[in-house]
Symmetry: D2
Subunit: 238 residues, 4 copies
């Protein structure tokens, strides 16, 4: 995240970013750790047999083996999405601090194809795209961020502490954090925070599902058997 220099415009973005920092384990590790219970010598197993056991673990929700595979991601996303992420407590976080640094003046503004109109009532509504309202919202939100950013800088210039000045920063400011999380917890997140629907309903906010989609791409690449089993068995966390 670069810092805005004086006189520069506030930056806007309409998406999140997910970077894979590190990974421990692979599909074979699931089988290695699971079979300690039975004593089976899984090191010599064929790929087919590996796939078979992973499917069995997923279907029967024998989840413990999925905890030995760990991902570290670096995620850049609006603060309101970061807040939702950190409600997932089975994970470790380190994040940009508005107390210890100047907050980069970059804000999230929804893309034009993001449905911004809400129709219906609580717990039973849907979102629709409305170009005219979307354009109006876009302008109004940019203005609000620029206004907040200006006051943030005025406060800092006057010598007000960063931890005080940041209080008027809106929740669509972009933040960055490292998260380390195991595959079992990731499946939990994927079952709750994706627009892809499985056996149980999932109502994520659009902006979180953008993050989840990026994470799923990485999981699908790195853990192909486990991911395929997850999708096949209704996107239920094992």
């Amino acid at each position: 995240m670069r810092k805005k220099k004086e006189g520069e415009a506030v930056l806007f973005t309409n998406t999140s970013e997910v970077e894979l920092v590190d990974l421990m384990g692979d599909d074979r590790r699931l089988v290695e750790t699971a079979t300690v219970s039975t004593g089976a010598d899984s090191a010599t197993w064929s790929d087919e047999r590996v796939v078979g056991l992973i499917n069995r673990l997923m279907k029967d929700r024998h989840g413990s083996a999925f905890e030995h595979v760990y991902f570290t991601f670096k995620i850049k996303t609006p603060l309101f999405t970061a807040r939702q992420f950190m409600r997932h407590r089975m994970a470790s976080y380190n994040e940009v601090s508005g107390r210890y640094r100047l907050l980069p003046q970059e804000y999230y503004i929804p893309p034009y194809d993001r449905p911004v109109m809400q129709i219906g009532k609580a717990m039973d509504y849907e979102f629709v795209v409305d170009e005219k309202i979307g354009a109006m919202a876009n302008v109004a939100m940019r203005g609000a961020c620029e206004h907040a950013s200006k006051i943030y800088e005025q406060l800092l210039d006057a010598g007000v502490a960063r931890e005080v000045a940041r209080m008027i920063i809106p929740v669509n400011v972009m933040t960055e954090f490292f998260v380390t999380i195991n595959l079992r917890s990731l499946f939990n997140l994927m079952s709750l925070r994706s627009t892809e629907q499985g056996l149980f309903p999932s109502h994520p906010q659009f902006e979180f599902s953008q993050v989840t989609a990026l994470i799923e791409e990485i999981v699908a690449t790195e853990m192909p058997c486990a991911y395929a089993a997850f999708v096949e068995h209704g996107r239920v966390q094992p």
Copy 2:
């Protein structure tokens, strides 16, 4: 939290509130659960002996007994403080949702005696009171909140979804949440988030230490022996 009616002024507050909703256990429970390991018949113990064991548990950091005492609080605090609170993962939360309801337009503005000037460099600074800067900041922050609030209402009036409109709400908006947490985790929070100093340094933000002070008052009343032992032994989490 009442809702702001149309035409009403935005509300401001300079403090947080903590309400004790429920409590399970007391000082005697610590002894009852701890002595299952030794088989001692602690039900007949004198108060002195109870105090003695609690002090021993605290001093030697035998922490498990402190997990059988649970508090449920309802807390009203600015969103940036709620964010810090929810980094404590050994706890359960339910919070106001900006997706499911209109956000009450009430904002936190620091009280006049809150040190707002930051002097020194990163990881080695202090805060001082400056009346003139404080007064300026107060005015500027109120203005920023009123501006954001106005745009929030304009967006809602145009039919923009609550979850989109709230994106430009600043992090000093007041929120409310239930938190259920055990006494061991509370001691951890109290060791990290209080201006009272113990064996290890504690650098809480002023606004969080306001919340911690309210919590400590309740803990001191409800768990007098455990709290006294915590203070006596250097405010270290058992």
Copy 3:
């Protein structure tokens, strides 16, 4: 747990015991904590509406509200069952210690109607009752416990430390522990460790399902709406 006096016979039991020590919260609390997100004034809701929301929370797996209800149980069960229990990590434990006290010489022996014969192969077997084998096993197991108990006492009499002497105690020795656990974690335990079958398969050991059945009775009494919703929606943890 009383201690065996010298010359006394070893004690045998064929069941576990569960005592409710304390409880925080009730069905109404689920609604109170869940509705903080929407701002609904649920205190005035009719019982019907309460039931409706609890069902909705269970069906859609909005699990967080179930974490504000806490149970403390005191459980007496064989050590091998206690081991399985403590694999549930979202809970707090204090247990009899073989380092700090003499282990009461009471052992679990399966009841006569417990199926002891295993037929079939790994991950696809069943258990059947065989009276003759059952009776033989009963005698052999009692003898093994009495033998171990005698050597335990000989070692202690010679001055060997309790933590060393207990090493030869078999895993069917009865133990006691306090466990404090929230309702969400309890539903997880009930979904995995009961012979009652729901949407997902459950393969508990007979002795653990005895414990779960006792716990379910208590939950059904204390949290009738939540328990009914759990059963109705396929015994899936919310």
Copy 4:
């Protein structure tokens, strides 16, 4: 773990084994994740500066960065030690199952230099070496294991289910498990379960401290800066 063949002697061991299966992260990762809060470009830092920050994190107990480093170990240890290990809940486990496989007939017997005599009273005792008593205990314990092992095989031969037959197996039977745990939790374990004393008292059982010593060797090799800081700052978990 090989299986005992019919007619073979029961195996005995006097130690535990710890194998490093996998590791994610290193000392530099601690700095990378910690500095996201301040925005410092730590990639270019000198080794000295890296060491300096790690010491600061340890001393001030800024523990979150230590959660991004993960170890997977495979541990072979007596069951009573495994039980103590699994009381550490911030970790993931997969273990040999006496329900799903025959339990290898290998038992732990204390080495000759293990102090087996307990002198003093509860919570204030010490252990001393007594060769004569030690030798007596050694013989008696071997005999107890052989006796239990024989009955275990008789039960299995009669067709009794593994999960029933294993009930009379003593707690010094050797077991194996995978554990995945982060560095912060490992420091907690090392502060509580080692004979090395720091700022707070530590009373581990001899057999657990054997395991901890093996783990510390690996941590000292793989995370030299973090480990040195841990020792220097009183063996307190950050």
